[in-house]
Symmetry: C2
Subunit: 268 residues, 2 copies
């Protein structure tokens, strides 16, 4: 049974201060399930009993990856924002750029596939971000239910056994964040966000994107990705220097540095 | 040395009737290289001599996959058209759906990666389609030059040796179209186009998309993808039947059937 989030956007805004137990009461009141941006979610797909039709429903569902917007950007006044499919595509291509290192063996093709699956649930629920007031466990539950619907109702037939197992295994591995591959994909998720932020600062002259860097670059773990991010942050410094705002934009970072949290956690 | 295409769109329209030798004369006249939609291409990237900066240039270049439009749709009056990144992302996810078959062994992770690389050159040249009057060999040369610039100038450093070799090997294999993996990715390219066409017919009530099916579905080879396409074409038939245009839209297909060309080529 899906957990319902209150239907009115004004209520949604207050969610952070509403005690979690209230959510259960609101299920009774509204009986509506909301995804990203407070939009009401359609009911999850149920199998038609015809494997070919269910499979086609999944192929069409993937179109939502083109439609769904990466919603963090909407709040920041960005006038053109990326779709989920683009974010996953650039992450997957960046995974292919990671060199083989005997000291850090990685299954690169698996990282590529995991990058393409890690946000798949957003085809149904959209990109739910922390500030929307949807509690993390509710977001997780909505995404799990979306994946269950995809895998059991759309790809539940005998002919899709391999597909189902591949998607499930990649999704579970990413969510558990225990393997080196899942940690790399999380790094790619973060650095893709930082790249996009610099690209928007440059093309749209937006000055309030510091939170995107503060929340991403200190957590980067892989040395190659740390190096990419260091070059990126130097490029950003020069961008704002050329616009006479170097100090303000550096101050906005509050001292955040690439890989800083990881170094501190390791006692460096 | 890139081959130049005449700069004026009116000249571009006449390209099909201009003898190829004239192209060389026009290099002297215009010295401009045009990509998709007759847009002037920027000069290919040249290495800065700094590996970190060159790598960052590649990461930013990937943003173009979000920007570049799949240009075939523009002509058909579609009001919202897909970006290259979305096309590659759905193809890669569809590759993960192909079941293992001992009679047709396939390296699925390689198919996934090839789907993500097969249109990479479009990040520079855009999506050049046959009707734009750019001869096939010129299109191929522009794309080869784009890939050379990506791999030798952006990813030319020692740290990107593995990346360079992965991208080159996947690109070359797809272009040669000899391996089962490259043939599967071509099938995915075709069926993704057909899927998108039905989605536009449904959402935008566009009646002239038959050429997209005639040019794609008869060439499908893989039995699983043929099955997807058959279900899709039945869905399309029902869509137009519900709008009272079943006969006209079936006639528009001119008898084209899923896998027909492949069966004929095999003497079936």
């Amino acid at each position: 049974m899906p957990i319902a989030i209150p239907a009115s956007p004004s209520k949604l805004d207050k969610m952070n201060s509403i005690h979690i137990t209230k959510v259960a009461q609101q299920v009774e009141e509204t009986n509506k399930v909301l995804g990203a941006g407070g939009k009401e979610l359609p009911a999850p797909y149920k199998s038609s009993g015809n494997e070919a039709l269910d499979t086609l429903a999944f192929l069409h569902l993937l179109e939502q990856l083109k439609v769904q917007k990466r919603s963090g950007w909407i709040r920041e006044g960005v006038s053109y924002f990326p779709r989920v499919s683009y974010h996953m595509c650039r992450m997957a291509l960046m995974a292919m750029m990671i060199p083989q290192d005997p000291l850090r063996p990685l299954d690169i093709p698996r990282c590529v596939m995991m990058a393409l699956v890690h946000d798949l649930a957003e085809a149904h629920v959209g990109d739910i971000t922390p500030v929307e007031g949807v509690p993390a466990h509710v977001k997780h539950q909505l995404e799990e239910e979306a994946m269950d619907s995809f895998l059991n109702e759309m790809l539940g037939g005998d002919g899709n056994k391999d597909a189902r197992e591949r998607f499930r295994s990649l999704w579970d591995e990413y969510e558990a964040r225990e393997t080196p591959e899942s940690k790399l994909v999380k790094d790619l998720d973060r650095v893709e966000l930082a790249l996009q932020a610099v690209e928007y600062e440059r093309s749209q002259d937006i000055r309030t994107l510091s939170p995107f860097f503060v929340g991403s670059i200190p957590n980067l773990e892989h040395p190659v990705i740390q190096k990419w991010a260091e070059t990126l942050m130097e490029e950003r410094r020069q961008l704002w220097a050329s616009r006479g705002r170097e100090k303000e934009e550096q101050d906005g970072l509050g001292g955040a540095k690439v890989g800083d949290k990881v170094k501190k956690a390791n006692g460096v």
